[in-house]
Structure formats: C-alpha cells, structure tokens
C-alpha cells in the first residue's frame, strides 16, 4: 500500500516536471511573438535557419542601389544582421527585382511566407544611373527588410524611413541615428 502511494507520488512529480518543461518550451518557441523587437512585426531576417542574416538573390537592374543599401545598413548596424548572397546550400530570404507600373510608388517591400521581395519600380526610377533617388529607395526598402516601418509625419523628413524617400532635397540615402 505504501509502495503504491510512493509510486503515485513519483508519478505526480514526474507529471508536474513534464508540465513545467513543456510550458518553458512553449515560451521559448513563442518568444519572438510576444517580445516584439522591431517596429514592424515582420522582417526578412530568417531566425529559424540563418540566424541574424539575410540571404538574398537579385534580378534587379538597380545593382548599384542594391549594393549601396546593403553596404550602408551593414555599416550602420554592424554585426547585427549580415547580408549575404544566397548559395546552393542556404535558404533564400529576400529577392531584389523590378516591376513597372504607374502606381505612385518607386519601390515596394512585400513580406511573404518564405522569401520576401524588394521591388524597384522602373516607371518611377527610370534607366539605372546610380543616382540618389535609386539609393534612397533601395535603402528605405532594405530598412523594411530589417523590420523598420515607414515614417509618414513631416517631422520625419530627413530620416531614411520617411515614406517619401525621394521627396527631400538633398535625398536621404543613408540610415540616420533615428533609423537604429
């Protein structure tokens, strides 16, 4: 009788420990959902397969602007997030590509399941010339890929995440302290 009671007691202890472990596991798995570390609730940094890096591919003709944006954000954020070209053995997070539409945008960031897209609008940016408009748009869209949101109020003119990256004179083509 005593042995049976001891065994039941051990069983209860085991079940309690099991519950604690499971709850802690769930907390660890769901951590990013309730911690909220970015302005937006999304970004292109794939934390599940390539921690702290964005693997990218590109079919855009705005190569100079793409490189400018990557270089500026890497310099600004340091070791925070690495931007690296995708390889055969890695999982792609982000695609730079072009589209053409008369829609009032120079660039769009589309966060999707799997890989995200940074879209440069040929209709707005025209033939690639390495100019500041391309750099401003690329840097802003890359900021979205890092989880930063748009800043629409006039007081934010002068930060790279201003909704109209091409509207200021001179254009803002690099992150500022506020974009950290």
């Amino acid at each position: 009788m005593t042995g049976m009671a001891t065994s039941a007691g051990r069983g209860r202890l085991t079940a309690t420990l099991l519950l604690v472990v499971l709850v802690l596991s769930a907390a660890i798995v769901t951590y990013p959902a309730w911690a909220g570390s970015h302005t937006n609730s999304y970004d292109s940094v794939d934390t599940s397969t390539n921690p702290n890096e964005i693997r990218w591919t590109s079919s855009t003709q705005y190569i100079s602007a793409r490189n400018h944006a990557i270089e500026r954000w890497e310099f600004f954020r340091g070791a925070d997030v690495d931007w690296r070209p995708d390889t055969a053995t890695t999982i792609n997070d982000l695609v730079f590509r072009d589209y053409s539409a008369s829609d009032g945008f120079c660039g769009l960031y589309n966060h999707r399941p799997g890989q995200d897209f940074i879209n440069f609008n040929i209709n707005c940016l025209g033939t690639p010339d390495g100019g500041s408009a391309e750099d401003a748009v690329a840097t802003q869209e890359a900021g979205h890929a890092l989880g930063l949101g748009d800043h629409e109020l006039p007081k934010w003119n002068g930060v790279v995440m201003d909704s109209c990256a091409t509207c200021t004179d001179p254009r803002v083509t690099s992150p500022t302290q506020h974009d950290r």
Partner: protein, 196 residues
C-alpha cells in the same frame, strides 16, 4: 481500485494531451497557423501621396464609383476590381471599368497596401486613378488619400478629393506630368474605343 498501472496510464494520457495543447497553443501564437493573416505591402512614395492637391494633380481620373465585382490576382501584386462610375471629378469617365489596386490574396495571407483599405464589393468610394504604362489599364493610386469610402448625400463633396476648390489648383511640381496626362488619357480612351 487505483493501481500503479492506472496511475501510469493516466499520467501518460495527461502528458500526451498536455503536449498537444501546449504545442498547439505555441504554434498558434508563434505562427498563427489556423487564422487568416493580413500582411502590409510597404512602399516608397514617388511623391507626397498625403498631399491632396498633388494626388488630385497626378491622377488621370478621379471618380466617385461603386465596386461591383472582384477579379483574380493579376501581375505586379495587384487585384482587379469592376467599378461603376457614378461621377467624374477629374477627367471624363463613365460606365463600367476595370481598375487594379495594389494588394492580393494568397492562401490564408492577404497582402494589403500600407495606409489604404482594400476595395470591397458593394462599397462606394472616391478613387484616384492613373492610366498604367501600357495605356490600357487603370491603376488605383497608392497612399492614404486615393481610396476614400463615401456613402450618403453630400459625401462626395465633403470627401478630401471631392473638394471643388482642389480641382482648380495644380501643383507646380507636377506641371510636366500635366502635359503627359492629356496624352495618356487620350491614348487610354482611344485604346478602349478600339477594343469596343
């Protein structure tokens, strides 16, 4: 009689059940596996899309219209809608037209343009429209002012772009656009006349 075997079976069942509940709750919180998700498409504006005079100036057509149908997803992350124009506020457009708005659905994800509500069948709007580069289709302009829900008498006049004073002003920055605009509208109308 409560035996050790009963206790083992009961705790095993409890462990399995708890695992499912915790894993399910965790997956739902982390990935939202079972609910439709809305995701924003963030954009870099080509000009101040929050300035009514610039939005009115840049648009080829501004109309009060009802949405009567929704089509399939089309190219460049856009969805087609069928509208019936009730009044033209800028440019001459009447009857039924297909317009395309940034945003689309894919699986349980709906991608919506930042700061702009997706059009809904049965609703009436003041819409800012731009003839697309192919001079054949009409795009809803992006930004917070280009789609405004209207309902009831006087709603169009009291809407941001329905303000009659706005139509007589044309922003200096868009003078070059104005010259192109007449050509674009003419090409668009000619294309559709030919198609009919």
């Amino acid at each position: 009689m409560w035996t050790e075997r009963h206790a083992r079976t009961w705790f095993a069942a409890l462990a399995v059940l708890t695992t499912f509940v915790v894993a399910g709750t965790g997956a739902q919180l982390r990935w939202g596996l079972f609910v439709p998700r809305e995701r924003e498409i963030a954009g870099s504006w080509a000009f101040e899309l929050d300035d009514p005079s610039k939005v009115m100036g840049y648009s080829d057509f501004v109309v009060a219209a009802s949405v009567v149908g929704r089509g399939d997803t089309v190219k460049s992350m856009r969805t087609n809608y069928e509208i019936v124009v009730e009044r033209s506020l800028k440019g001459e457009l009447d009857g039924t037209w297909i317009v395309s708005q940034l945003g689309y659905s894919q699986g349980r994800d709906t991608f919506v343009p930042e700061g702009q509500p997706p059009l809904e069948v049965g609703e009436s709007y003041v819409l800012s429209l731009v003839v697309d580069v192919d001079a054949e289709s009409l795009n809803v302009l992006g930004g917070p002012l280009a789609v405004e829900v209207v309902s009831g008498q006087g709603a169009v006049e009291s809407s941001v772009l329905g303000n009659p004073g706005l139509r007589s002003r044309y922003p200096d920055e868009l003078v070059a656009t104005k010259a192109d605009q007449a050509q674009r509208r003419a090409a668009f109308v000619a294309n559709h006349a030919a198609a009919e």
